[in-house]
């Protein structure tokens, strides 16, 4: 049952985007988000939209997977839209009781919503086309300069990748604990919220205890295999830029220049 949950939203298929270096995709997503905040008018949005559309087609990921990410922020989208439409002062178009819909409000509201939609789709495009492993690898490399500021970049990446590896194991464990507790009469199906919350305790306590024990065991096993932090560590699959990555960087820079130029000219 719950064993089949897949975490992270990687969509397995072959495409140009899937093959690109994770560092490039992280930096690219970051630049794209910045570009969304630089554009001011309809042309800029058109450029950003077309760019995104091309990427979506290139990714071979069904569009509905990207829309899925929007569901989570639906409330935020509606809220942003409504607030902006009603509360922006300007030329009144329609008046409803105390609130006025203004021309400026419509403009700002729709821009905010489009911006958010692009932002979410753009970033889910990255997670959809990159395995969690490559993503953490990429993140570690991209954030490497922050090590100078004493930020534990390697450790964070290690934590993330171990967490990913342990998800199936802990899900299995959770399943076992739930079955064991149900066998002893625990009720997880109750309609009452208070009862449901109470029934979580006998699940979470053993789960925590075993997670602690596993953590201790794993730390010993890592030490036994000479783990001593990121210092002097090599990689089985080091990240290497290939030609496609350089081309992608070029495209990315061109896009960014276009956005900036568009902002200056219009």
């Amino acid at each position: 049952m719950i064993r089949d949950i897949t975490l992270g939203q990687y969509y397995q298929t072959e495409s140009v985007l899937h093959g690109l270096d994770p560092r490039l995709k992280i930096i690219g997503t970051f630049l794209y988000i910045i570009s969304l905040f630089l554009v001011r008018d309809i042309f800029g949005y058109a450029v950003a939209g077309i760019f995104l559309a091309v990427l979506i087609v290139l990714s071979h990921v069904p569009f509905k997977f990207m829309v899925r990410g929007l569901k989570g922020i639906l409330v935020l989208l509606i809220f942003t839209g409504v607030v902006n439409v009603f509360l922006t002062p300007g030329e009144v178009l329609v008046s409803v009781w105390k609130f006025n819909i203004t021309r400026e409000g419509l403009k700002v509201g729709s821009r905010m919503v489009i911006r958010l939609v692009f932002l979410v789709i753009g970033s889910s495009l990255m997670t959809l086309t990159t395995t969690p492993n490559r993503l953490t690898d990429g993140l570690e490399r991209v954030l490497k300069p922050l090590k100078r500021l004493k930020l534990p970049v390697h450790e964070m990446a290690m934590i993330m990748s171990i967490a990913l590896g342990f998800i199936p194991i802990l899900i299995e464990e959770l399943d076992k604990i739930m079955k064991a507790q149900s066998a002893r009469g625990a009720d997880f199906e109750s309609k009452k919220l208070s009862a449901r919350i109470k029934s979580m305790v006998p699940i979470l306590v053993p789960l925590f205890v075993s997670a602690f024990r596993r953590a201790g065991d794993l730390a010993t096993a890592m030490e036994a295999r000479c783990y001593h932090g990121g210092e002097g560590r090599t990689k089985l699959k080091p990240l290497r830029y290939r030609r496609a990555d350089y081309i992608a960087y070029l495209v990315l820079i061109l896009y960014f220049i276009l956005i900036i130029a568009e902002g200056i000219i219009f």
Partner: protein, 332 residues
């Protein structure tokens, strides 16, 4: 999805453990190091009156009592040996095993690995590379999310070049017969397969000796067979020294030398044949001999003419056939 937070927590804690251990082991040791025994001992591993104790504390942290888990143990392991250390639960065998690659430091006495004192911090990583360790729970020692990445973890830590890591990974996976699973996720493998991946992970560090701490305790009979077969193969074909910690007698049958531990001490040592002859004595320390040996022992006690120390089914069958035909001859 409510549970994800808790799952993360576990890993965060795990890393905290690593941190804690990394920075705290320096303080634990203040006895002077022993001079190197490089020439004196040709043994791969040698322990000299090794003791270890766990201090029991009450809830205020005051010392309640001291448990001697390992009590003045002397043993030596030669290159290429297959050693089995047997003992009931709580006999101190796992604690002893952790001394062989400097996961624990002796409170008294010294452990030498390849001539290096395990308390010598300078050689910590050399020691851990010389003796690899495989643990009981297959789930709690797999670090990578793909089999080949897990096997690469050791060499990565040692700073081996990427191309050489690949070579090591491929060779190690082939020698435990798990090469075809290299792209799989470890969570989809059986217990026996996971344990063989763990062995491959140690092999990739090219150790001289592998210490296996009850590697089969959590496996089903099939998995147990697979793992023991792999271990024997490594010892025979590649000449890797094996120290097998177990409480299954059947697994010790093929060892060159068997040590029996009880209450932190070595109470018996010898070849499997010598050890398993003493059925009564073994029972005394909470161990039972292999079923075949026990059967032979009981038959002998009831007057059947069988030699002592029968270890395998074929041996017993042959001996029984011999006695039967002899009995027939006598009749005529």
């Amino acid at each position: 999805m409510k549970e994800t937070g808790d799952r993360r927590q576990g890993t965060v804690l795990c890393l905290l453990f690593v941190y804690h251990k990394k920075y705290s082991f320096k303080e634990t040791e203040n006895r002077p190091l022993s001079p190197h025994l490089i020439l004196k001992s040709m043994s791969l591993i040698k322990t000299d009156k090794v003791s270890y104790e766990y201090i029991r504390r009450d809830k205020d942290g005051a010392v309640e009592g001291i448990n001697k888990a390992v009590d003045e143990i002397d043993l030596s392991v030669e290159k290429g040996d297959f050693i089995a250390i047997l003992g009931a639960n709580g006999s101190g065998k796992s604690t002893l095993a952790k001394h062989f690659n400097a996961l624990l430091y002796p409170v008294g006495g010294t452990v030498f690995v390849g001539g290096m004192d395990t308390r010598d911090e300078e050689h910590l990583w050399d020691i851990r590379q010389t003796t690899g360790m495989v643990f009981q729970n297959p789930d709690n020692q797999i670090i990578g999310t793909v089999v080949e990445e897990d096997v690469a973890f050791g060499p990565e830590n040692m700073g081996v070049k990427s191309r050489d890591i690949w070579e090591r990974v491929i060779r190690s996976l082939k020698s435990v017969d798990m090469f075809e699973y290299r792209k799989h996720s470890p969570s989809r493998l059986s217990g026996g397969q996971k344990q063989r991946v763990a062995i491959a992970g140690v092999l990739a560090m090219q150790p001289e000796c592998i210490v296996l701490d009850e590697p089969t305790a959590m496996l089903d009979p099939m998995g147990r067979k697979e793992v023991i077969a792999s271990i024997r193969e490594l010892n025979k074909t590649f000449g890797i020294t094996i120290i097998l910690i177990t409480h299954y007698m059947e697994e010790a049958v093929h060892a060159d030398k068997v040590y029996i531990m009880d209450k932190g001490r070595i109470v018996m040592q010898g070849t499997p044949k010598q050890i398993f002859t003493n059925v009564e004595e073994l029972r005394g320390v909470g161990l039972s001999v292999p079923k075949v040996t026990e059967l032979a022992f009981e038959l002998r006690r009831r007057g059947v003419d069988l030699p002592e120390g029968i270890l395998t089914e074929t041996e017993l069958a042959n001996e029984l056939c011999r006695t039967l035909s002899e009995a027939k001859h006598r009749k005529f």
